[in-house]
Amino acid sequence: MSEQKKTNIILFSGDYDRAMAAYIIANGAAAYDHDVTIFHTFWGLNALRKDEKLRPSKTFMEKMFGKMMPRGAEKLPLSKMQFAGMGPKMIKNVMKKHNAMPLDDLISMAQEQEITLLACTMTMDLLGLKEEELLDDIKYGGVAAYISEGEDGAINLFI
């Protein structure tokens, strides 16, 4: 086979459906033997949050941000039909019926397939997210980390 291709996805969005799309593409690309990186920035960082309550030392603003943002993949809202929380419940029911994998499982599958999950440290600072609040075994970086992967990417997506 030829040289390994690269797929790079920027997950900017913190919507459940958009994150699902990102992780389905990432897992598919890994099955294609691509070297896959998902670069999480801004609201996309919330997909990487652990669902347990942690109390790292934070400023007042950081605490507020932490409270207002969803804690973990399964708490993300939908981009459409949120219906005050009813939407995600309904879609997860339908997903179960159709055997579609929920987002947290897609994320574990991505880690199992050795997809690089990268968290943007600059936006972590802005949103007051600490490393201990995010999933274990992820990497941290900035724009250069993305560019170095992205410059020879066969597929580059911004979601």
Partner: protein
Amino acid sequence: MNITKTLDAKGLACPMPIVRTKKAIEEVNSGEVLEVVATDAGAKSDLTAWTKSSGHELLETKEEDGVYTFYVEKG
């Protein structure tokens, strides 16, 4: 046709059939045949595209009552 291994991917939705197929093909040797059984309607074009780009050969495809069977020879 000599089938070395069978993968039951029935009931699995995208992207699982392709993810499982990739794992299963790693367990057979070059020239051996992997049988994949799936019910996801997208699997037909997915498997076809995947075998083509990953250097394997899709020997045969069958469809019966919404069940797709693929025979992939490892490249």
